[in-house]
Symmetry: C2
Subunit: 287 residues, 2 copies
């Protein structure tokens, strides 16, 4: 691997995104002709919808920041994307957000039916853990920590979603904090923690990168709310931090979370320039 | 632990069932006041519905047959029951089997709503893997094999369910074989294989107990179809082996699967009397 500092942030991200997408499409997702073909198609549709693949890029970047390589974290990176994908498939269901489209394509339930969407999501979650089991263990006990981190994120993301649905358009500040920490933060935290664990990092580095991930997830979610409202009001029925604070307060919150993320990167054994750049780019994104 | 041969099959099963139920209720499931309480309640409702806990009993029994102790397999046993429970919660959903009742109580969706049932099932699957991560490793690499076995069962059970729904009341023999192997067999197989792995067994013993579990699951499912039809026809729309064979052929199939299960127990390092008895009892059950 060439010196990563030679690459722009965009090149560095694109490279890791391509590694994850190739591994998912060629080695991890069921082949299109695997029986039952309808399940393979629904699972592939869910994962191939694309996006920036921020969580797996973070996972590999954190392995590098912990002194390992991106390759150390390839399986956890793919696993976190599978876990994230399953949550989107289930969130889109008619009984949840009832979204017919995701990133300009039909959502899984709209294309394949409701039962298929429940089942494809279920299979994606199982496949996430199955993929995690392929992670090479640098030390005995590494996989137990990885599975625990993913299991905690897997239950946490559901806890956040349940509170989100229950609160709807009338959240208290406390509910916003809980939903952001769990629905969004837990997956970002697990992505970064998993990168550190897969790289063979000790407890201190693991804790620092977990904090980095959680802070970054928080900034990402606040920014998401600002983008969704696009200068106006949150969409009807949607939980948004703008229901409990104004836009300047939300921007200040992003800044403090981004600063906390940057602080967590101090003193790590590997290169952190691109993670720092990614944190800045997420805080400044407008789409 | 007293010599297990002093116990009747019923005592031996009841003891293991109690261990699993106590661990699930007291240490593994979220406390009733864990936030959000509605999610904890739905998860507990799903798991506390009861039943014979055959899969976890098999898991612990296979650890013993492999030369280890039931305690070695306590976490995998709880994990397999969580995995099984989540599949029931999702199978009962209106978009799948639309069952309002399970074992005489309201099903999770009927009591807590459809969104809550999707999410409680999702959280139970994550909790299954999180629980698995607590298994003490007798050798380095044990957990990777456990997670792989559970991940394979987790995707397999969905593959079986998708074929089941697609075939409905008009399955071919080939579809019946596929659905039985995956929808039912994969969880029985994983339960038994996980017991062997957790006990620290080598490949030969692992393979034998995996075969035992798969054969037993097959016999269990055929027997289930016979019980559901209760001397008459299968319920409308239900996949059943009785759609592709008559009752004597189904009984002969149970006998050959039970014989294969018994053969797989030959030459194991630990006691197998109760597993043998359990296989006989399952083949002869009428409820």
């Amino acid at each position: 691997m060439a010196d990563m500092r030679d690459k722009t942030l965009e090149e560095w991200m694109a490279e890791r995104k391509a590694w994850v997408e190739t591994a998912l499409a060629e080695d991890i997702l069921p082949r299109p002709d695997e029986r039952p073909a309808a399940l393979s198609a629904a699972m592939r549709h869910a994962v191939e919808a694309g996006g920036k693949r921020i969580r797996p890029v973070l996972c590999m970047g954190c392995a590098e920041a912990a002194g390992g390589s991106a390759a150390d974290a390839l399986f956890p990176a793919c696993a976190i994307e599978l876990l994230h994908s399953y949550t989107l498939v289930h969130d889109d269901l008619p009984e949840m957000d009832c979204d017919e489209y995701r990133r300009g394509r039909l959502s899984v339930w709209a294309k394949f039916g409701r039962a298929a969407a429940v089942l494809a999501g279920d299979a994606l979650q199982a496949l996430a853990f199955r993929t995690l089991a392929h992670t090479p263990e640098k030390r005995c006990g590494t996989l137990a920590r990885l599975v625990a981190a993913f299991g905690e994120a897997g239950t946490g993301v559901v806890r956040g979603q349940v509170e989100d649905i229950a609160a709807g358009a009338g959240p208290s500040r406390d509910v916003v904090d809980f939903v952001f920490e769990h629905k969004t933060g837990d997956l970002f935290r697990a992505a970064c923690l998993a990168g550190a664990i897969a790289a063979g990092a000790g407890d201190g580095v693991q804790d620092a990168l977990a904090r980095f991930g959680l802070s970054l997830g928080l900034a990402f979610q606040i920014e998401d709310d600002l983008i969704d409202a696009a200068g106006g009001e949150p969409a009807p029925g949607e939980l948004s931090c703008l229901r409990v604070m104004d836009e300047p307060a939300a921007r200040a919150w992003i800044d403090s979370a981004t600063a906390a993320a940057a602080a967590a990167l101090e003193g790590l054994p590997g290169p952190v320039e691109h993670l720092r750049g990614l944190a800045r780019a997420l805080a400044a994104r407008r789409t």
